[in-house]
């Protein structure tokens, strides 16, 4: 499904919508802390009313973020098979109420993450993680991987065009020996080209002063809006948790 996401964008349009909306301009740290807290708490709720409240908050966040709903819906479809499988089986075994609860709970967790992914520039997201003290080896790998993914997916789309020009339409089924061979060789070719690029890119990075860690060039400071978002989401999460645990009847 990731294919569909990249494929549906033009150019490097991964961050197509992040720059346009107010949500995209917030500090990544605040968004990460607020949304992660909310999602973690939403994932453990078992009370139907509380799950409904968390889903409402998630939908409110989605609408308020002003991100295009069709775009989010397309991303949401990637998670649907699993959610559907789980909800239907729970529905069959434990009744319709539990099935709907499962659907609402998983959606309440998935939607905020989609808003975060679509409404934040990828670089800001990784830089935010670094500023939140995530080990440098991980954030540097993430930043490098993101850069290479854009490069290699262009390479793959060029190869797809070339295959299509020769009349190849994809393998028909698992017994289509020729079709699968073409797909395997395409994947192999992507890897070979990536190995060749790796050393060149390393040399390039060294020339630009790369020293184990990608240093974020952009500066970001926490403003009042960021604090409001993070504390708002965390407060909702805290209330939901206390009610769930029975502290407040």
């Amino acid at each position: 499904m990731t294919f569909a996401n990249i494929g549906s964008h033009g150019g490097d349009g991964l961050d197509e919508y992040a720059g346009d909306v107010w949500f995209g301009k917030l500090d990544a740290r605040a968004k990460l802390v607020g949304i992660f807290t909310f999602v973690v708490i939403s994932a453990v709720l078992t009370n139907m009313e509380l799950v409904l409240i968390s889903l409402t908050v998630a939908l409110a966040l989605l609408v308020a973020s002003r991100l295009p709903l069709t775009h989010i819906a397309k991303m949401y479809m990637a998670a649907v098979p699993f959610i559907l499988f789980a909800s239907v089986s729970v529905f069959l075994f434990s009744g319709w109420e539990r099935g709907i609860e499962m659907w609402m709970r998983t959606s309440a967790c998935v939607l905020p993450l989609l808003v975060l992914a679509a409404g934040t520039e990828t670089f800001d997201l990784f830089a935010g993680l670094r500023r939140l003290r995530v080990p440098a080896v991980i954030t540097t790998l993430l930043m490098l991987t993101q850069r290479y993914i854009l490069l290699l997916s262009e390479e793959l789309s060029r190869m797809t065009t070339a295959r299509r020009a020769r009349g190849f339409k994809g393998a028909r089924n698992l017994t289509d020996r020729y079709g699968l061979k073409v797909l395997a060789f395409t994947a192999g070719m992507v890897l070979v080209r990536s190995f060749q690029r790796a050393d060149d890119i390393y040399e390039g990075l060294k020339c630009k002063g790369f020293d184990k860690e990608m240093t974020p060039w952009r500066r970001s400071s926490i403003a009042i809006n960021d604090v409001l978002l993070a504390t708002g989401l965390a407060a909702v999460a805290a209330v939901l948790l206390t009610v769930q645990l029975g502290v407040i009847a």
Binding site: S89, V137, L152, S153, M189
Partner: protein, 329 residues
């Protein structure tokens, strides 16, 4: 196979996170040299390569398509340690850039796709390589079959682990989270047995392509030609390490098993009770018991996990000593 948040029972997700952090930290410590500055771009580009290769869809019948998981392929190209780190990066990218997977479920997703899949893929690949070791290097067909078997096993075992996690979640939360074993196990295994065939065919194709076009890019040292024949070959260093990889996967499943076992009688106990043989005094009583509630079970599970991990580390050490002796003067 990306599990979303809110599907698994909190305690199962927590175990997943603990196991993931322990394994990931151990890998970072053990392979510190491999992940040095010069190798960072290489690991990143391999992750990107696997991520992009995952975009290639193949048909699995009935109008549906599957795609490569790539864990086994990654491990066969550059060894299990780098594969675990690289696959974790792939999962993080998928989660953060596309919202695939989740936060609480990241531990379990990483266990299934970034740890179990590469370890099983690499383990099976090394074991079969050891078994097929003869004086002559095996032909293309044999190589392809070995790679295919490893790739299929990696997907199948990862799916089985995922099904197990769903079933345990269901059992410990009395149906609030997870999916009942009677649905989860056949559905996950059935679908992934077929997806595994696609994975096997594509992985075999990719490896054969790499062997013929760019053999230098496969950094796992191919010791086939040097390996000893027969059982001596099986007991050589690579094989012992492959067994270790599979033992680690086994150890990872232990805490969940004990958690599950503590929730009710297991199949054997139930059969014994039905047959009226339950309640007899056991022949041997063990110093440890996995307890009556799930905290003591969790404790016993973690103890078991550590015991198997230590055993595995011991084998690894023996294997290293053996290798040193072989290469010594």
């Amino acid at each position: 196979m990306h599990i979303p948040d809110g599907l698994m029972a909190p305690v199962v997700s927590l175990i997943g996170w603990i196991e993931f952090l322990v394994v990931f930290a151990a890998i970072l410590l053990l392979s510190g040299k491999k992940i040095k500055e010069k190798n960072l771009p290489r690991v990143a580009i391999l992750s990107a390569g696997i991520f992009v290769a995952q975009m290639l869809n193949f048909p699995i019948g009935g109008g549906t398509t599957g795609h490569l998981v790539g864990g086994a392929l990654f491990a066969m190209i550059c060894g299990p340690a780098i594969a675990i780190i690289g696959m974790t990066v792939v999962l993080l990218v998928q989660g953060l850039m596309f919202g695939d997977g989740g936060i609480t479920a990241l531990g379990l997703n990483a266990i299934n796709m970034a740890i179990i899949a590469p370890l099983i893929g690499w383990g099976v690949y090394s074991l079969l390589n050891g078994l097929s070791a003869k004086k002559t290097v095996p032909g293309k067909a044999v190589k392809g079959i070995i790679v295919g078997a490893a790739a299929w096993a990696s997907v199948f075992v990862a799916a089985a682990a995922c099904a197990g996690e769903l079933a345990v979640s269901y059992a410990v939360s009395s149906g609030t989270f997870g999916i009942a074993a009677t649905v989860a196990v056949p559905a996950m295994l059935g679908v992934h047995a077929i997806i595994g065939v696609g994975e096997a065919l594509i992985s075999a194709g990719v490896m054969l392509y790499l062997w013929s076009v760019s053999p230098g890019s496969i950094t796992t040292i191919d010791k086939r030609a040097k390996a000893l024949p027969g059982w001596k070959g099986v007991l050589s260093g690579t094989t012992a390490r492959a067994v270790t990889a599979i033992l680690i996967v086994f150890a990872l499943t232990l805490p969940l098993y004990f958690l599950y076992a503590s929730q009710g009688r297991d199949g054997l106990e139930k059969t014994m009770q039905d047959a009226g043989t339950a309640g007899e005094k056991p022949l041997i009583s063990t110093p440890f018991s996995y307890g009556q509630n799930y905290f003591s079970a969790l404790f016993a599970g973690i103890l078991g996990f550590l015991a198997v991990a230590l055993g595995a580390a011991g084998i690894l050490r023996l294997a290293r000593m053996r290798t040193t002796r072989e290469t010594g003067p």
